[in-house]
């Protein structure tokens, strides 16, 4: 519990510092901290290649697909609960009904979320988070940030992450080794889902840092507008 709080505070301080620094930067650019972000990206990437990628490969080779799916479902169920909270904060009662229905259904009959019955009967996931809620409340994305181990984010989405650390259900687990195990498995599960994307970036990108930044910002904009983003101001040809 304490460790998590310390982590959250440290992240909050770093974010506050970057907010202050952000005011000094040229407002036109989405990535005023590019030198710092690139340095963090290098660290992240080195750890990813040395530790995460082999660990993921091991996880995929050793753990059968149905079990990996059950693990994903378990963490998705927690995400659905977070999504339901955000639906309420956004005043989207339709989506709240869907997400909360999913959580109740899957927790009760899916052995605590290991089976995703709700998706099987076609109840779609809301996929809302605190970053999107802040966006819908009118907060701008703010400067782009690359945080080692977490990956691409922004001042707004990062603030969302910190909120999540405080309110997420894992905060209520007092058994530290158990909680850390859940974090570790969660991280492996999440990273495993990006295996295909990693392969794609490795082939497609001229500069992976820039490629990931653009893809992240485009994706978040798409989610913010519920899959129907208005056209971006076109660059003159």
């Amino acid at each position: 519990m304490i460790k998590q709080r310390v982590l959250a505070h440290a992240a909050a301080v770093a974010l506050a510092a970057s907010l202050v620094a952000g005011c000094a930067a040229t407002p036109s650019r989405v990535d005023p901290f590019e030198p710092m972000n690139r340095a963090f990206f290098e660290i992240h990437d080195a750890v990813d290649i040395a530790v995460m990628r082999p660990a993921i490969q091991f996880y995929i080779d050793v753990v059968p697909q149905p079990i990996r799916q059950a693990v994903s479902n378990f963490f998705n169920n927690i995400d659905d609960l977070i999504s339901a909270m955000n639906d309420l904060l956004q005043g989207d009662l339709d989506r709240f009904g869907n997400d909360m229905g999913r959580v109740i259904f899957n927790t009760a009959w899916g052995f605590g979320g290991f089976i995703d019955w709700a998706s099987m009967v076609g109840i779609e996931r809301g996929n809302q988070d605190f970053g999107l809620t802040l966006g819908k409340w009118g907060f701008d994305q703010g400067p782009y940030l690359f945080v080692p181990l977490l990956g691409p984010t922004s001042v707004r989405d990062g603030a969302g992450w910190i909120t999540r650390l405080y309110v997420g259900p894992t905060g209520y687990i007092n058994d530290i080794p158990l909680r850390n195990t859940i974090y570790a498995v969660g991280a492996v599960d999440l990273r495993a889902q990006y295996t295909e994307a990693t392969r794609l970036v490795d082939t497609a990108a001229l500069d992976r840092y820039v490629f990931i930044r653009n893809a992240y910002l485009q994706r978040r904009r798409y989610l913010l507008y519920d899959g129907k983003p208005p056209p971006e101001p076109e660059e003159k040809q």
Binding site: R125, R199, L206, D207, R221, G227, E235, Q237
Partner: protein
Amino acid sequence: MNAMGPMLRRILALVVAATVFHVAPALAQEAPDALVKRVAEDVLAAIKSDPQIQAGNPARIREVIEVKLVPNFDFARITALAMGRNWRTATPEQQKRLTDEFRSLLVRTYSGAVSQYRNERIDYKPLKIGPADTDVVVRTAVIRANGPPVPMDYSMEKTPDGWKCYDVVVGGVSLVTNYRDEFNAQIQSGGIDGLIKTLADRNKGVAAK
């Protein structure tokens, strides 16, 4: 003779009608959504049925993509869009090399992505299109066995050679938009020739930064 007149005319009318009905669909352009569906299903079927592709033979996959998919893309337009305002500053020779290298990179990337396909199928959304429309987005979703569907939208433009694709948007991420910043960054550091060299290096298998 008098009786043959109407008879002949009737046969003639029939022949004309038959010809018109046969030729008309060929003359009219294939609708963009029909084109996307035909090509996507064709590629998917080829990938699933080819044992060499299933075994992971990259040359074979690339061949399928080159023959079936590439003719339906307007790579000059894609490259020009990704270059943005830099396109005009490039010489015709540079434009040609850029288009060729970018095309190779996209084919390689696309081949790598679809070679992973096993149980995937594609869901085609209905398209609203007017007779005067020359620019449409055909929406599809790749349905996967594990994991949520991936929305995949094709921006299509009407050309004299039929509808051509000039952008692909995967889960809200546009190919053209994504490369615009990458191209810009490369041009700022090494000029247009620098960008051509980076693209060529990537196609030769040199890893990205």
